[in-house]
């Protein structure tokens, strides 16, 4: 598994590599904070250095109570006040209420994957996906964050700060990408088990590309139509016979399970297993065969009963669902 996986990249540090207006000002703040903090540390170290090694007259000056009042109180008050006003203002700006015209996506944190539902203008679910969220560039997108089981946290650092997904609550997070591309993230609230392997990707498209993508996603996969090719048809049989439809839904078939990720367009996803495997026939077959070995504790059982041929067939079928 040495292929780099599309998604969260560590370098440049995503927090300091903003890609939208909900991350940019935070990046500016971060650099300012670093600057101030380093400057203060240097001042303190210089004072300590003088206290330890400096000439007597300098040490006498630092050894008085005036230093406490000045350096210890007056100077911090000024700096902290300025920072606080900046911070409070930016907080208010980043948590402005959404405009009713903004696109809405509902992401529900599950153990250990992300259920993504695209909402229509009335706020109803139009169609579902999993572990990837597609958005148009250049406009704020409203993420409605919920949790199905335990507390999770939605974090795509290049696009903005994180927001927790708490059972019984719906939290709102607004994010915006300025350029098309993939923006990786990871669950940031310990949710037990393989919390470490709960990644996600936000894919930003130009508005035209997004409209096309959305139309394609809302409909059943075109791959379903071309079911004449043999492995795909055989794979569809394996899927039905193994009862996969009890947990997974495929739009356009009678598989309608809600327990696991929607597989209607799984072939077009960039990763599998919530951002931990590249998506190709081989990795998909391996996942179905024994996902427990890859992501211990996840809710999908292993399928040792499937033969190699069956695995190849069913993975070919699923990969065809683009």
């Amino acid at each position: 598994m040495t292929e780099p996986i599309d998604g969260l990249q560590g370098w440049p540090p995503p927090v300091l590599d903003p890609a939208g207006p909900f991350a940019g000002p935070v990046n500016t703040l971060s650099w300012a904070l670093f600057g101030i903090v380093i400057a203060v540390f240097v001042v303190v170290m210089i004072a300590l250095g003088i206290a330890l090694f400096g000439p007597r007259s300098w040490r006498r000056r630092i050894g008085g109570e005036k230093v406490l009042w000045g350096l210890g109180l007056a100077f911090p008050v000024v700096v902290l006040s300025a920072l606080l006003v900046w911070g409070l203002g930016l907080t208010a700006q980043l948590s402005e209420d959404p405009d009713p015209s903004e696109m809405r996506v509902r992401v529900t944190g599950e153990m250990w994957w992300w259920r993504v539902a695209y909402l229509d203008a009335q706020g109803n679910e139009a169609f579902q996906d999993a572990n990837e969220v597609h958005i148009p560039v250049g406009q704020p997108v409203v993420f409605e964050l919920e949790a199905a089981d335990v507390i999770h946290s939605f974090w795509v650092p290049r696009l903005g700060g994180k927001m927790d997904m708490i059972p019984g609550r719906r939290n709102i997070l607004r994010l915006q990408a300025d350029e098309p591309g993939s923006y990786g993230g990871q669950c940031a609230e310990y949710c037990g088990g393989p919390h470490a392997l709960m990644g996600l990707i936000v894919v930003a498209h130009t508005p035209e590309d997004f409209a096309a993508w959305r139309a394609k996603q809302a409909a059943p996969s075109t791959g379903l139509v071309a079911a004449s090719a043999l492995p795909v048809a055989a794979g569809r049989q394996v899927f039905q016979a193994s009862g996969c439809g009890a947990c997974h839904a495929i739009n356009g078939t009678d598989a309608n399970g809600q327990a696991g990720p929607d597989l209607s367009h799984v072939g077009s996803r960039r990763t599998l297993g919530a951002g931990i495997l590249p998506n190709n026939q081989g990795t998909l077959a391996g996942w179905i065969s024994d996902s427990q070995a890859i992501k211990p504790g996840n809710r999908m059982p292993a399928y040792p009963v499937l033969t190699g041929q069956q695995l190849r067939d069913v993975s070919a079928y699923l990969e065809s669902l683009e």
């Binding site: 109180l73 019984g168 392997l197």
Partner: protein, 847 residues
């Protein structure tokens, strides 16, 4: 110029009689030695002298430090490489939970408490702590419970929900095993330990100082411990409540945190962090106070800005209670609310800055020596400042929205905890070992210990700031390759092992040089000015000095010689037993002579059975747990049975002809203070319960049903009547009429009956409405109020039994009202708590 006003009416002219002249009588010193003799054989377990218990306590705390440190090495080995198979997922999840839990609960708080136990009496000129069996009990419960808790790892039963154990992950649904119960009940006795220690320290610092040691002259360490103890009293009740509620939810389905049934996961977070944030300042303040002491000593100059440092510690103590939701900035709370917490978090760094500059000013005013304590002090200052500065960064909400729950926070918390507590603690070990050991620790090895720990610490944790900004969340057992996280993780792992080598060398140093409990100690190796460096025996100092400055050994000439010759207070043991002086809180004017008990086994057995109660409950051995609980109560009963006995002399000569009473009751007595502090703890639990009730209502106001329509008036009247009866009982007793004891006892038992009856009517009233504890947030909180009140009624009944037995054995008399008063306080509190509970649950929201 105003003359200092006397606080108690004590005439300060009397101090002029000291130091007394002439030889002390023959055999006086031998008598002291015999009364305070050290343990032999089994007595090593029942010993209560702080010189022993303090060393045991620190030893246990350092044992847990090393154990939790080993866990961290295992974790860092796993994280050195991506997708490493060194530890399984479940094992790692248990180890990181245990690392945090053990470090925070079994190492950090007990270690600083232990430092107080070991140092405070000697520093204050007292012979021992005011309730030595209580601190010994706290120690044994903590040791037994802590070791059992640690052993859960070997059975795969260690908790795995993170050290702050958020529900719903830790609810029965998602954590069905007893792992979470180990945590909940496992820290139960640590909570008890901490509170017992806090009571001890508050009373000891305020009531057992050497005469003349006014607040202004009190050692800065004593100030730090006082504030620490007060913070424990206010903060710990919140976690006691939280753990109790979660256990009730797990065991019986009372939905405090279950959103599906009317609870809220955020309630846990509020309750936990209201404790959890002050907890880190609880850990930091004593270490900072020790820093203030050691900086002055090592630089050989008085602390610059002593009064400002005192104020800084007080301000830190207060303001740290207003920042808890900075751990919850990402939970979706309204921006204005989190704004308040951000503001307070910025404000709390101001007093910390004052302390840091006081240390720097002190270094400047003196001549710093680069001895091992000096190095650790300087290292600590550096590391703590770095940690504090990243703290200011994460106090800014937008930055925290990126940094929260990432490795940036892991970096920040280790910098402040290692810089703010671990390094000062190692400095303290090197600094104060000569006081307790016949050999000081090695300066040569000590320098290796310091540099390895200092370098290792930075190498391990500095990269983590970057790792967090690179997107790595915390509490992950592995990570994917090709993200760039490999290099900083590997560096961190190397640093961790380097740090561990430093600790290993320290262990070697301890084995080679630490020789406690011997006849002599190594002496004032660092030439410090505090009273703890007077020559001492097991009886502490030969006589209790009059203190006139902050640094008595530096500024009061011939003090050591005069103290040793018995020329001050209490050079002997006038009642023939262990004693110390009780003095007034502000001016330390002598008030009375306190008798300190001799060792006996009851407190040890009480500790064993207390730990047993919690542990057996965890493994669901319910009958055995109940038996253990009953036995614990019995042992406490027997422990207290010998208290408040007749005295032979009503007053004694404590030196130079000054007479003080040997018995005290009422608001001046140490017993009264201990009971009041305990009731403050109970009151805080009540306040947090009320918060929980209102909070859950605000989340689900439509689920609330109407309260019982009748009963409020009669319940309130009965509780009020109970209060009156308690008052009357005490008044009757001290009136000293012929039948006073009978009447007073009857009134006390009558008050108990009224409170019990009121509670019963309240309980049955709610039961009749059909409300059950499982059905809603209202049910859970209302029945929790009732259960908590029931617990108080029950314990009041046990105390009533105690009173009755004392009456039947003729111990109830007007001259000795102390026990009656204390039980009266408890009973009055019970009635008051019942009254508040019934008013809240029936009048808000009403309907």
């Amino acid at each position: 110029m105003t003359e200092a006003k006397s606080e108690t009416g004590f005439d300060p002219e009397l101090y002029k009689r000291f130091p007394t002249s002439g030889e002390r009588p023959e055999g006086e010193l031998e008598k002291l030695e015999k009364i305070w003799c050290g343990p032999k054989g089994w007595e090593w377990i029942t010993v209560i002298n702080n010189n022993y218990v303090g060393v045991y306590y620190i030893g246990a705390a350092m044992l847990f430090f090393v154990l939790a440190g080993i866990l961290s090495l295992l974790m860092r080995t796993q994280l050195a490489l991506p997708l490493n198979g060194f530890l399984e997922q479940e094992t790692y999840n248990q180890l990181f939970t245990m690392h945090g839990t053990i470090m925070m609960f079994l190492f950090a708080v007990p270690a600083v408490e232990a430092l107080g136990v070991l140092l405070l009496p000697q520093m204050l000129g007292a012979r021992d702590l005011p309730f030595p069996r209580l601190s010994a009990y706290a120690f044994w419960a903590y040791l037994i419970g802590g070791l059992a808790f640690f052993c859960s790892i070997f059975f795969g039963l260690a908790p795995n929900g993170g050290w702050f154990m958020y529900p719903p992950l830790t609810s029965m649904t998602y954590s069905p095993g007893i792992n979470a119960d180990f945590w909940l009940l496992g820290i139960g006795f640590i909570e008890i330990s901490a509170i017992a220690g806090a009571i001890e320290i508050i009373v000891g610092v305020l009531k057992n100082r050497a005469p003349g040691m006014t607040l202004d002259k009190m050692p800065i360490f004593a100030w730090g411990m006082l504030i620490f103890a007060c913070m424990i009293i206010i903060a710990f009740p919140s976690v006691i409540l939280a753990t109790t509620l979660m256990e009730l939810e797990r065991a019986f389905g009372w939905p405090f945190f279950d959103a599906l049934k009317g609870g809220d996961p955020l309630l846990w977070q509020h309750l936990f962090w209201f404790f959890g944030h002050p907890e880190v300042y609880i850990i930091f303040l004593p270490a900072a106070a020790a820093m203030s002491t050691m900086v002055a000593a090592v630089a050989r100059t008085p602390l610059v800005g002593y009064r400002l440092v005192v104020l800084a510690m007080i301000a830190t103590g207060f303001i740290s209670f207003g920042v808890w939701s900075h751990h919850m900035f990402t939970t979706g709370m309204p921006s204005i609310s989190i704004g308040f917490f951000s503001s307070a978090s910025m404000a709390v760094s101001l007093p910390a800055g004052i302390q840091v500059f006081a240390w720097i000013a002190t270094v400047a005013a003196g001549k710093m020596r680069f001895s091992t304590p000096g190095l650790f002090v300087l290292g600590s200052l550096t590391v703590f400042v770095m940690g504090g500065l990243t703290g200011v960064m994460v106090a800014m909400v937008p930055f925290d929205w990126q940094a929260h729950d990432s490795y940036f926070i892991v970096a920040h918390l280790h910098y402040v905890l290692i810089g703010g507590m671990v390094f000062p603690f190692f400095a303290a070990i090197y600094f104060w070992t000569p006081m307790s050991s016949s050999r000081p620790l090695s300066e040569r090895l000590g320098k290796w210990v310091f540099w390895l720990m200092f370098a290792g610490m930075h190498i391990a944790f500095l990269p983590m700031h970057l790792t967090g900004l690179m997107g790595m969340p915390r509490r992950v057992y592995t990570y994917l390759p090709d993200r760039g996280w490999e290099i900083p993780n590997m560096i961190s792992t190397v640093g961790a092992f380097l740090f561990a080598v430093g600790v290993l060398i320290w262990i070697v140093d301890m084995i080679r040089n630490f020789r406690p409990f011997g006849p002599r100690d190594a002496g004032n190796v660092f030439d410090s000015g505090g009273l703890e460096w007077l020559p001492t025996g097991l009886y502490s100092t030969r006589s209790i000095p009059i203190v006139t400055t902050r640094y008595p050994l530096w500024e009061q000439p011939n003090l050591a010689r005069d103290v040793e010759a018995g020329r001050y207070f209490l050079p002997d043991a006038p009642t023939g037993d262990r004693e110390t002086l009780v003095t007034s809180p502000l001016n330390a004017e002598p008030q009375y002579l306190q008798r300190i008990p001799r060792p006996s086994g009851w407190h040890v057995w009480a500790a064993v059975f207390t730990a047993g109660f919690f542990l057996l409950l965890t493994i669901q051995a319910y009958w055995a747990s109940a038996v253990s609980g009953v036995l614990a109560v019995y042992c406490v009963f027997m422990w207290g049975w010998l208290l408040d006995r007749p005295r032979i002399q009503p007053t004694v000569d404590i030196g130079a002809g000054i007479q003080v009473p040997t018995y005290m009751s009422g608001p001046r007595s140490h017993g009264w203070w201990a009971m009041v502090i305990t009731l403050v703890v109970a009151g805080m639990i009540l306040v947090m319960t009320a918060f929980s009730y209102v909070f859950l209502w605000s989340r689900n106001p439509l689920d609330w049903i109407a309260p019982p329509q009748t009963g409020l008036i009669i319940i309130a009247t009965m509780y009020a009547a109970a209060l009156v009866a308690v008052r009357a009982s005490n008044a009757v007793l001290v009136a000293d009429r012929p039948r006073s004891p009978q009447l007073a006892t009857a009134l006390m038992l009558g008050a108990l009956a009224l409170a019990a009856g009121a509670w019963w009517i309240d309980l049955t009233g709610w039961w009749a409405t059909g409300l059950t504890p499982q059905v809603s947030g209202q049910g859970a909180t209302v029945f929790y109020f009732l259960s908590w009140q029931g617990f108080f009624v029950g314990t009041s009944a046990i105390m009533g039994l105690f009173v009755l037995l004392r009456f039947l054995t003729g111990q109830v008399e007007a001259k000795r009202p102390a026990t009656f008063e204390l039980i009266g306080l408890y009973l009055a509190y019970t009635a008051g708590q019942g009254l508040i509970s019934v008013l809240l649950t029936r009048l808000f929201p009403g309907g």
